[in-house]
């Protein structure tokens, strides 16, 4: 049995028995990440030094390169949904959580407060918009002098379950003015019945009729970023 300078038993040309456990484990295990450069500087230096003086590990390095290249050449898996996938997810992001409203109030308030505290400019814009929209809540959009229920940026929702009347959800662009929002709602005769949610969406009540067409019209309004149905029998 002969041990060559690499530290490997080369008696059997088809078998290499590592003499050193360091060669067996440390270097061998690190080789895949040495290839992709995903090791610390010390680890990279350690593996590089070893591969240069160990023929067996150098050979393993070469086969590792080939295996990695072959794997990457396998191509992409079957394509999944494209733009439609984001639209579906977006609707879920802004839709009310399935958890009860009451249980969501405190976390929502805390997050809202934290967000507002971090960015005063954004806080001012969103707060002003929310306060303006609150003037429209539970009031037909066409009524000129609605009564505010709550002037805070995030609504307390411990009162009557007005959200039960909602049949759609809407998000407005952050820079949308109150007049543009009112105009958008008036265009379809919609009423805001609750919100904002933690995703800054508002629950909406569309009048009876072709609600699919109403939603489409609402989406075309400049102030509207998103409008979706929240009940299953709508689009």
């Amino acid at each position: 049995m002969g041990i060559n300078q690499t530290g490997y038993d080369m008696t059997d040309s088809n078998q290499t028995t590592p003499k050193s456990t360091q060669c067996d484990h440390s270097v061998q295990e690190l080789l895949p990440w040495y290839l992709s450069g995903q090791l610390t500087d010390d680890e990279m230096a350690f593996v590089a030094a070893h591969v240069q003086c160990c023929a067996a590990c150098a050979e393993d390095y070469a086969s590792e390169l080939a295996l990695r290249a072959a794997y990457r050449d396998l191509g992409e898996p079957a394509a999944l949904g494209g733009k439609a996938a984001w639209a579906t997810l977006q609707a879920q992001l802004v839709a009310p959580s399935p958890r009860p409203w009451r249980g969501r109030v405190m976390p929502m308030m805390r997050r809202g407060a934290a967000t507002l505290g971090r960015n005063r400019r954004v806080a001012a814009v969103i707060g002003a918009q929310a306060a303006a929209i609150c003037l429209l809540i539970a009031t037909p959009a066409s009524q000129p002098n609605p009564v505010p229920r709550d002037a805070s940026p995030y609504r307390g929702l411990s009162g009557a379950p007005v959200a039960a009347n909602a049949n759609s959800i809407v998000m407005f662009h952050p820079d949308a003015r109150e007049a543009a929002i009112r105009s958008a709602l008036t265009a379809v005769g919609a009423t805001i019945v609750d919100g904002p949610t933690e995703g800054r969406a508002y629950l909406l009540r569309l009048p009876s009729g072709d609600q699919r067409a109403m939603l489409a019209k609402l989406r075309r309004q400049p102030a509207v970023a998103l409008a979706e149905a929240v009940n299953s029998d709508m689009p």
Partner: protein, 174 residues
């Protein structure tokens, strides 16, 4: 990152578009069930959105999302495995031509695909995260919620399996 933590929808869409291709590949490789993958991706991103305000930034966002996807896919696989018999599962795997399903495959590709199919889910995932996603073993350990030595060992054995399977036709792929 501050915009993401504040759940800015546009920032989140940018993140989604950036991470989705890698996430889709990751989930597909893990589950090998395209019909499940879209739901898992959706569930993952929804969970990420809800957890963003609490994200501490101790890892890269993509690593954090992959970890959520891993847990989501494991849960989904358990649900499916309890409903699908092993015969059905075998049929699914036999019919799947590997990650390049639908693409004309060469002999070496078929050999490699078959060898990959024979790996356990965890071994296959470590191969994918290392060879394709270019993640380090520490990140992989975070994603799979296991010790780094486990990742190294899984990778070691997965490579050994692939090389053993391919060894008979080594000249074709080396």
């Amino acid at each position: 990152m501050p915009r993401l933590r504040a759940q800015d929808l546009r920032a989140f869409e940018e993140l989604y578009q950036l991470v989705r291709p890698r996430l889709a590949r990751f989930v597909l490789n893990m589950t090998r069930r395209p019909e499940l993958a879209e739901d898992i991706i959706n569930e993952t991103m929804l969970a990420a959105w809800r957890a963003l305000p609490d994200f501490k930034g101790k890892s890269k966002v993509s690593t954090w999302i992959f970890a959520i996807a891993y847990r989501t896919a494991v849960r989904a696989a358990k649900r499916i495995d309890s409903a699908v018999s092993m015969e059905d599962r075998d049929e699914v795997e036999d019919n799947a031509d590997g990650p390049d399903h639908g693409i004309e495959t060469s002999k070496k590709t078929k050999l490699l695909n078959k060898a990959i199919t024979e790996l356990s889910d965890d071994h296959r995932l470590v191969i994918e995260l290392t060879y394709y996603q270019d993640l380090g073993y520490r990140e992989i350990a975070q994603i799979m919620n296991c010790p780094v030595d486990t990742v190294k060992t899984r990778m070691f054995h997965a490579r050994r399996h692939l090389k053993a399977r391919l060894n008979g036709d080594k000249s074709d792929w080396l």
